[in-house]
């Protein structure tokens, strides 16, 4: 035993004894390694479906109809009525890869999916940790646009968002993507939005059905396309011609007086900005309100809490836990930061004040505040980050002189 390090005969034996067990081990690891994952799939709008108390069969019918009308995340379908360009969608859909000509495919999953989710429900894996939450496209409501509150955003509006990002949120700028890619992504966002709106419409239709729990929706073209899809698509098409007409900034008043007027309006009770944005404009006015997305969850959980029908409540509980993000209040903008989520152009601010912000508590001033007065408010808002205000001592580090 104290001999040479090599124990030849044993070595030979084990040499030929071992491979079997080695191969087995390798095979095992191999198997584990090739664990295939299922293709990405759209997730049902459980919140609405449960709110409408759909049966599993009804949920499945909706899924089937949507599959027929919109396809899958890997293979999207755009019916002619949607007016969407299927080629653009294909560029964004599917897993990230490069095609034969080396063009990048699966753009949505490369850039958007981990926040906005494969379904566009604003619930990707990263979403829960972001503040504010990523946009849920499914209601088809967008905040920052050049159209009236009730209208859809124009193509250019969405392009602008992708280009500039949304300051003060986790939405980054995609200015460095190619024109084609940004264009395609906007198209895909519209696609997810229309799909979500269609899903909502279908789910809500079950209540309109005549009374029996097992009711199914008609699967005719008339119902699905003419009555459901077309109205939705039409509103998207109409957006381009629905842009707000912006009057020229009043030229006769100089900036200082305009700012002074704006200040009056800000505190005055016609425009009443002070109520929410606060007397110091630090966004410390009415701060315990929700935007539409969170409000829906808040209201529904109230309803669930008040109900007694046990099995429905228990399902609703699971949905609230697994398919809804913890509701967050939406604080009014701190106007001293000089951060303007919808863009810092005077034009952008005009849009925000004129039409309000769809989906958010911010109301529209049009009708009650005259256009030139809106311009005065715009000028005042733009001066706020630079207006030194003694009361701001505590908040100094946040004014634009030091940070923006």
């Amino acid at each position: 035993m104290h001999g040479t390090p090599m124990h030849t005969q044993r070595t030979l034996m084990t040499m030929f004894g071992k491979p079997s067990c080695l191969l087995v081990a390798m095979a095992l690891v191999g198997l584990a390694g090739c664990g295939t994952t299922p293709p990405a799939s759209f997730r049902a709008n459980f919140v609405e479906a449960t709110k409408q108390r759909l049966t599993p069969e009804q949920e499945q019918q909706v899924a089937t109809i949507l599959l027929a009308m919109f396809g899958t995340p890997d293979d999207p379908v755009a019916l002619p009525e949607t007016g969407l360009d299927e080629a653009k969608l294909k560029l964004c859909a599917g897993p990230v890869r490069s095609d034969i000509v080396g063009r990048k495919n699966g753009l949505y999953r490369e850039h958007c999916a981990h926040c906005h989710g494969i379904t566009g429900d604003g619930m990707g894996p990263t979403a829960a940790f972001l503040n504010p939450y990523p946009r849920d496209y499914r209601p088809g409501v967008f905040k920052f646009k050049s159209t009236e509150r009730s209208d859809k955003p124009t193509h250019a509006d969405l392009v602008r968002i992708l280009h500039n990002g949304i300051a003060g949120t986790s939405m980054p700028s995609f200015a460095l993507l190619s024109e084609v890619q940004v264009d395609a992504l906007v198209e895909y966002v519209k696609y997810l939005s229309m799909r979500g709106e269609t899903e909502l419409a279908l789910v809500r239709q079950f209540f309109e059905l005549d009374d029996d729990a097992q009711g199914r929706l008609p699967e005719t073209r008339e119902f699905l396309v003419d009555e459901t899809l077309t109205p939705i698509a039409e509103r998207w098409k109409a957006a381009a011609d629905a842009r707000i007409a912006v009057p020229e900034m009043p030229a006769d008043v100089d900036l200082a007086t305009s700012i002074a007027k704006g200040r009056e309006l800000f505190y005055g009770d016609k425009a009443n900005c002070v109520k929410c944005h606060g007397p110091t404009a630090l966004g410390d006015g009415q701060a315990n309100d929700y935007d539409d997305w969170n409000k829906a969850i808040v209201e529904w959980s109230k309803e669930v809490a008040g109900d007694k029908d046990s099995d429905w409540v228990s399902k609703a509980g699971r949905v609230l836990a697994g398919d809804a993000l913890r509701p967050r209040t939406i604080p009014p903008r701190n106007l001293r930061h000089g951060i303007y989520r919808g863009g810092r152009r005077p034009l952008d601010l005009y849009y925000r004040i004129h039409a309000g912000i769809n989906g958010a508590p911010m109301p529209a001033a049009k009708g009650t505040v005259a256009p030139e007065d809106i311009w005065h408010i715009v000028n005042y808002i733009r001066s706020l980050p630079y207006e030194f205000d003694g009361e701001l001592g505590v908040d100094r580090p946040m004014v634009a002189k030091d940070r923006f």
Binding site: A156, N164, G165, S170, L176, L347, Y350, W375, R403
Partner: protein, 266 residues
């Protein structure tokens, strides 16, 4: 006999290290896996230092590795005859191979101080050309505007799209809004962490026009990889024109025509 072959085999395996090692570095530039194009004034000093150290270490690397191979090859127990040399060391050798590296390293250290000082210590006396504020996960830029002072109402705000004039010193005031970031301009050999609560000056002089990447080189959260910017070096004239155009866009009070709007949004 088999043992001898085994010995040679192992020796050659160790010889492969210097051979392939040198080969890798030799091929790298030809397959474009090498220092990116340098368009800065000071960059050439850094690059020449890099090459200098590369040659120096390369020589030591090859020498030691080949020596290692040679010993393994020569002193294989199965090959060499007689007992091993019985020696506990050599004082002279120890002195030699302590002094020589010491001198080299010390020289190296002193030799490069100047280059370091140029990039990080000799700040040009001028007001910032632009303020770069890093933020999860974008580069927010602020130009002083006409009045030349930051923090006034005529500042120009942009994101990720940095433009700078060439053939003159530019001074960047680097800040961070939230966590650590690192402002990395590979093509001008500039890297500086952005630290919340600190204003760190960064300066250099670009020699050529062109558009290049801005990279974030310090982990700043889940979106670290997203934090991409673009820096465009252009002549003073073009630069000023660009500033004017961007400022005009920022102050827009009327929507541009639909088509133009899309284009402009790019």
């Amino acid at each position: 006999m088999g043992k001898r072959l085994a010995g040679m085999f192992w020796a050659l395996l160790f010889l492969a290290v210097p051979v392939l090692g040198v080969a890798t570095f030799a091929i790298a530039p030809s397959i474009n896996v090498w220092l990116p194009k340098d368009v800065s004034e000071h960059g050439r000093n850094i690059d020449s230092l890099f090459y200098f150290i590369l040659v120096l270490t390369g020589v030591v690397f090859v020498a030691t590795e080949v020596l290692l191979f040679w010993f393994i090859w020569k002193y294989d127990a199965a090959k060499a005859r007689g007992p091993a040399t019985y020696i506990h060391g050599s004082h002279t050798l120890e002195v030699v191979w302590t002094i020589i590296p010491a001198a080299t390293l010390l020289f190296l250290a002193i030799y490069q101080m100047n280059a370091w000082a140029d990039v990080k210590m000799r700040r040009p006396a001028m007001s910032p050309t632009v303020e770069v504020v890093a933020r999860q996960f974008e580069w927010r830029l602020r130009y002083p505007g006409r009045d030349g002072t930051l923090g006034s109402a005529d500042d120009l705000f942009l994101v990720n799209d940095l433009h700078l004039p060439i053939d003159e010193d530019v001074l960047i005031q680097l800040k961070s809004m939230d966590v650590l970031h690192s402002f990395f301009l590979p093509h001008v050999r500039i890297k500086q962490d952005a630290v919340p609560g600190m204003k760190i000056p960064v300066w250099f002089k670009a020699r050529e026009e062109g558009a290049f990447d801005i990279v974030c080189a310090e982990l700043c959260g889940w979106g670290h990889y997203k934090m991409k910017g673009r820096v465009t070096y252009e002549s003073r004239a073009k630069f000023d024109a660009w500033l004017e155009r961007k400022y005009a866009e920022q102050e827009a009070t009327q929507p541009p025509a639909e088509a133009a709007d899309v284009a402009l949004a790019r």
